[in-house]
Each structure stands twice: as structure tokens, then as C-alpha cells.
Symmetry: C2
DNA sequence: CTTATACATTTGTATATACAATTGTTGTAA
DNA sequence: TTACAACAATTGTATATACAAATGTATAAG
């Protein structure tokens, strides 16, 4: 991936700016790959993220603020994100009996089933995204990302 | 930046997946920084990108498809993005005389002025994003990003 | 017990973006 | 020259997201 070539400029970009642009370009590519993998299941990246969080709770439901805390990309409207998942039948939402201000969101069997199907597509997407990166390079990348 | 801590999970995430999540987290942070830097100027990241492309043309106007080609994050509606910039008085748009299907978009003096102001805010944001990264690490990062 | 404050979520509204269909223009083959 | 395909941008529409205000509930102070 050559930055100058992709954004079609002949100018020399300072290393700092170039790195940030580079970063965004790679991120776009990653997002495209993953969105494409999710498309057949009619589930967005954010929706998938919520489903995965709920599965990770093993049976224990989560409330909205917990979901928000754990999402990779925080959203300013998790209510409506959950609305969509309810419409699709992948999650349930009930008012928390011990604190009626809160809400308890849990994944349904149907939600677990779709997640299971998505899992293999996701692993495939991840592999294809990282196909040119060795394990050593992955570790190196993680070390660098830690510095941000 | 510790991935597990940020998304608040105790589970071990496989290195591939962890790297991708890590990547997204850093990207979110970068976007936040830059958006915050742009906020006082009431210009979005994409709008800023278009302005910078137009400035890079030195005087030569660009048409829509050229803009789209050169944008870091491609959009499926550059027309309306340009509409916003016209409303703000930062760009002009005329129908291309030699080919009336095309359009010629150019940056106005006002656009150049705001860009000049944004420039220093942007350099500051870039510096703060990369404050913990040495030059050597930057180069290392670029090498790794090239592999995607 | 009443009132005020903090909390958790939802709703309203504006804006942004994606995608497909449409419009208007140009090039080209008969 | 006409008819048709290709091109470039715009428009319509649905969906996504951001942000602030509103709703309903719990907690705490007097």
C-alpha cells in the first residue's frame, strides 16, 4: 500500500502526516473487509460488536452503559442500535427489576446462531486482512500501537 | 493503550483479532483528536480533506471524480460534500465549459484563509497524536502499514 | 414526607452517509 | 442524423450517527 499512489499526489508528505493518512487508509481497508464479511448476515459492524459483547457475558445480561463501555467504537445512541437488534430478533431487552432506570439486554438463541455463522466469516476476513503480515510483525505492530 | 482494559474484557483475544481491534481503537483516537482540532472551524474531516486537495491543485480546478479519487476516505456523495463547502463559501463550482457533464471545483480565497488557520491546529493535533512515537518507530510503523 | 439532585435511558431533531435511480451530456456506430 | 451506449454528476430515499432535551426512577437531605 503506497500512500502517495493511493491518494494520487506527487507532493512529498511530512512523515507525521503521512503516517496518520497511512493509518486511515489501512483502517478503511479493514473496515471494508469486515463490512463485506458481515453484509450477507445483514448485521453492521457495531451490531456485531454488541452481539459479541453479549455472548461474552455468558448468560448474564448487560445494561446499556455496560455495552457502551465495552464497544470498540463508542456510539452516541446505543438505544437505537439495540432497537435494530431487537427487530431482528437477536437480542431481548427488559427493564431491570432491581433498578427500573436500567435495562437488561441479553442475546437470544437466534442471536447466538447468527453469531456462530458470522464467526467463521470473520476469521476468514481477519486472515485475509493480515495475510501479508507475519506473526513477528503482528507482535511488532502491537508494540507500536500500544504507544498511542 | 491496553486493548483488554479499554474494551473491559478479561478473555484472551487471539493475536489477529486483537491487532485489528487495537487498530480500530487507535484509529478512533486519531479521528477524535483531528475532529476536535477541526471543530472550532466548523469543518468536517472530509471537508478539510477536499479543501486540502483543492489547494494542492494550485489554481487548477478539480472535478468531482478527481476529488473522489484523491480523498483519503472515499465517499459515496461528494456532490453534497461540496454543496456544504459552497454554502460556507470555501469553494466554487462551475460547469466545465469543454465538457458540460463535468464540473470544475476550486478553492476560494476564503477557503485558503480558513485552511491556513486550520494548518497550525492540524500540525498541533498530529504532534499530540504521535507524541509518544519516536522517528524510528514512525518509520517502522510505515513499513508495517505498507504490508497491508 | 417532600423536594432536590443524580442517574439511566429514550426521544427529537439535525446532519451525515450509502446506494440506486435519474438527468443531462457526449461519443459513436449504423 | 439518429439511436444508443457510456459518462459525470445530481437527486431521492433509507439508514446511521451526533447531540441535546426530555422522561422516568432512585437516592439523599432537610
Amino acid at each position: 500500500m503506497n500512500v502517495e499512489q493511493i491518494i494520487k499526489t506527487e507532493k512529498k508528505i511530512p512523515l507525521e502526516r503521512r503516517t496518520i493518512i497511512h493509518f486511515m487508509l489501512v483502517n478503511n481497508k479493514i473496515n471494508e473487509s469486515i463490512s463485506k464479511a458481515l453484509k450477507p448476515f445483514d448485521v453492521s459492524l457495531q451490531q456485531f460488536n454488541v452481539l459479541r459483547i453479549l455472548r461474552g457475558q455468558n448468560e448474564k445480561p448487560a445494561n446499556l452503559s455496560t455495552l457502551n463501555e465495552r464497544m470498540v467504537t463508542k456510539m452516541s445512541n446505543t438505544t437505537r442500535l439495540v432497537d435494530k437488534l431487537i427487530l431482528k430478533g437477536f437480542v431481548d431487552r427488559i427493564i431491570c427489576p432491581s433498578n427500573r432506570r436500567k435495562v437488561e439486554i441479553s442475546i437470544t438463541t437466534e442471536g447466538r446462531n447468527i453469531l456462530k455463522k458470522i464467526d467463521s466469516a470473520m476469521i476468514k476476513a481477519e486472515k485475509s486482512i493480515l495475510e501479508n503480515i507475519s506473526k513477528k510483525e503482528l507482535e511488532q505492530l502491537n508494540t507500536l500501537l500500544n504507544k498511542f
